[in-house]
Symmetry: C2
Subunit: 484 residues, 2 copies
């Protein structure tokens, strides 16, 4: 259920009227990405998505992304078209020192503003090179040129500052450098006051998002359990996204932006903001509090429905949540991996400080290794096969015992493409956890290529450990094997 | 040295004249991506890069990427503009069963062709659902509608077939489904004859690429050693790309496409192809052979300069190359990982069939695990520390002995963010390999976050194993530690 119906409306993008974009209410934005490497497919365009997310968060609609190469005529035509249909045109790339970098010249031509040298910026570029023991190339001088009237966006991560230019009819051009590590801090730093200003002109609503991370339930099961919430959504919209054996449930609400200072101008309300709001009640502050409270209420309702399956929020990973549980209990874990072959250990140790609870792992790929390093019985291997409930349980118990850990986790399965049988087709995987007082096993069948089976199996193993930590070893559907 | 000068010219995109695009020589393409989720930044646009790469390979220039949402008026306007400036317009997305899926209707309106039901496709969609035990939703019926005159591109991976429509003036529309796992096989399968046809109309030159994968040398060192080849490049262009501790060196040459059959038409030369070529000499076949021979010659010269550092080509990974070396020698490997914590085992087992040579791994995170599972001496741990040449060597020898493998590989280091000291700062990593008759160790210092240090360390360990397999344990700069 990606982006169906209300979830789309909730963001305000896509189905509304095009609008002239130039002035007042309904201000929208267009993103123009510049670079022949994009048109050759040699660089993936991540700027369009990043900027669109930020603009959506500020309630600013985007109707077009356009990419052009380092060609003066096509760049200028794209900028003219964008300026004709969007109040804010954000241009990425083309600010470098070479003859192929044409953005500043193109914006100067479209707006009729001459390029002016900024002495302070030039000095900064000279310092940047001096600090690195290099001398400035002649081309870098042009990075200190800006269309007259531009406000400069400093770039601590490179030589090309960005700029913001307000020109006729309350329209704006923004120019940002191409490298992501330069562009992103600029957007989340010096561009913020402008985003807030445009947000007020776009209607003064900010989009607040919250992601609930759900594991152990499929996307359709999540939607089924929340069907009434999906049906009722109004101010808080819902959308689900399937991600590597998890479901991410996105809640979003539009929240009024408080009146704020203008960048480079007098503080107070934007003179271009819709006058209607002045007479509206409740106040923006009260409306924001009410919308945030509703977001919290919906999140709480979902947590109650889905229980333990909501393991985290926003950027929290399952391994970070498991790690935090272990740390709080001062317990340790060791892992025995066959089909995942190190993936579970790799994920558990992705968390800084994980050496406090992660002791060791054994990747027991060959059967001999399962016997030698984990104490699995050769008889069990012969009788049940390496991919079996008995062996999975023995691996988890074995690695726990060997390293004296509180918890042992194991995986054994057939990642493919070879090795499947009619009884145990490719994708058949057992995950097990052994702990104080017992063990718990699940059988799964994952579809997909070798890497997908490894990814899903590691996820299932971490999830089983998570459930054992929260519910205990006896609870839940041990041995039943749910879909991941 | 991404995309400077000749490398750009070599692809023919970006700096030429715009061209009307409709007919004959100079045919170009435009990519229109449809989906509100793209404008919200919730989905990264990977189609534009993928399609651009393919079009570049067929020598078809792309001057614009445009993204619009699920809005009928804006979609139609984007298609009309694209058709006005490009001979081939490729549209992605909007072929689904819902009311938001508008691509087929928009193309029908722009071309003036009515939508016609294809009974065979409808039957296929019904079968698709029946095979999955589900009943077809009413909306899926519209996925069997196509603008009159379209050729259908079958979709074995989903319900929405694509289509290709030739309309007035030799112009083309192509519609492809949004999900990448449906779009990509369609482009590399049923669309190929069309790409070849358009390639002939675009000038009949195909871009042939070859990637030489280089490990153990930095990007600037590679460029320094090949400086004269970079300076001399003409028909074969060179570009370097840094990738996770490797350098990928891309060679590209334009090669004439041989005259071929038209899809759905008579075989033979495209009537729209430039007539000039008939009188040109040498023949396309001879010119192609000459260009390919030059590509081979440049590749051979680079291999000779860089020697063992060129470990593979195109999509070959270092773990696949190492696996193939082990398989040919009928030898086995076991790994002992501390700071990489499973990443080396995970990569070695990414290769299908790796169970033939990969026996086992130990993730010895805690010092006790290094003693217990690998037989590292507690005295050495105390005297030298876990992150030391002595311990790395002992880990590699220990895991080799324990599992009876021909080769043992080990990593020990400080992934950070904590744990660094003035003598051993964060990023200090030892990698070791032990084999028949000895061992070899390298010390590295990697910069970057925890994941980067893990990634670079795993790469260094695999590279050391690769060098030991090719050069032997005594050769090279054992113990010296090069940059990765």
């Amino acid at each position: 259920m990606d982006m169906d119906g209300p979830a789309r409306d909730g963001t305000g993008t896509g189905t509304g009227g095009a609008g002239a974009g130039g002035t007042g209410a309904g201000l929208n934005a267009e993103i123009v990405c510049v670079g022949t490497e994009l048109l050759l497919g040699e660089t993936l365009n991540t700027h369009a998505a990043f900027l669109s997310q930020r603009l959506a968060e500020y309630g600013i609609d985007v109707y077009h992304h356009v990419t052009v190469g380092d060609n003066p005529a096509r760049l200028e035509a794209a900028l003219r078209q964008a300026a004709g249909r969007a109040g804010v045109v954000i241009v990425t790339g083309g600010l470098g020192p070479t003859g192929d970098d044409l953005t500043r010249e193109a914006i100067a031509r479209v707006t009729g503003r001459p390029l002016v040298l900024d002495a302070g910026v030039l000095e900064g570029i000279e310092r940047y090179f001096a600090a690195r023991g290099r001398s400035m190339a002649p081309g870098n001088r042009k990075q200190a040129l800006f269309p007259a009237g531009s406000a400069i966006l400093p770039n601590p991560n490179g030589t090309a500052p960005g700029f913001v230019l307000e020109w006729e009819g309350g329209r704006w051009f923004v120019a940002l450098p191409g490298p992501p590590r330069e562009l992103r801090p600029m957007v989340d730093g010096p561009l913020v006051p402008y985003l807030e200003r445009w947000s007020r002109r776009a209607g003064g609503m900010r989009l607040v998002r919250r992601v609930l991370r759900v594991a152990g339930l499929g996307e359709s099961e999540v939607e089924h359990r929340l069907a009434d919430l999906f049906a009722r959504q109004q101010r808080v919209t819902l959308a689900t996204y399937a991600r590597d054996g998890e479901v991410h449930l996105r809640l979003a609400a539009k929240v009024p932006l408080p009146p704020g200072a203008e960048p480079g101008g007098a503080p107070g309300r934007d003179p271009g903001a819709p006058a209607a709001r002045a007479g509206a009640s409740p106040s923006p502050e009260a409306a924001a509090a009410s919308a945030l409270a509703e977001l919290e209420a919906v999140a709480a309702a979902i947590r109650q429905r889905l229980g333990i399956h909501v393991y985290g929020e926003d950027d929290q990973t399952l391994e970070a949540v498991v790690g935090e549980l272990l740390r709080r209990r001062a317990e340790t874990v060791a892992v025995a991996e066959s089909c995942t072959a190190g993936r579970v250990a790799d994920r558990l140790t992705a968390v800084p400080g994980s050496s406090a609870y992660f002791l060791a792992g054994v990747v027991a790929y060959a059967n001999a290794a399962k016997v030698l390093a984990l104490g699995v019985s050769p008889h069990d291997l012969a009788a049940h096969g390496a991919v079996s409930e008995v062996v999975a349980r023995a691996m988890a118990a074995g690695v726990r015992r060997m390293f004296g850990a509180h918890w042992g986790v194991a995986t054994t399965g057939i990642a493919g493409p070879g090795g499947g049988t009619p009884e145990k087709p490719v994708g058949t995987v057992y995950v097990a956890v052994a702990g104080p007082g017992g063990s718990r096993v699940e059988r799964h069948r994952f579809l997909g290529d070798r890497d997908t089976v490894k990814t899903r199996s590691a996820q299932a193993a971490l999830l089983l450990l998570y459930r054992a930590l929260v519910e205990g070893l006896e609870a839940g559907n041990a041995g039943a094997g749910g879909p991941a």
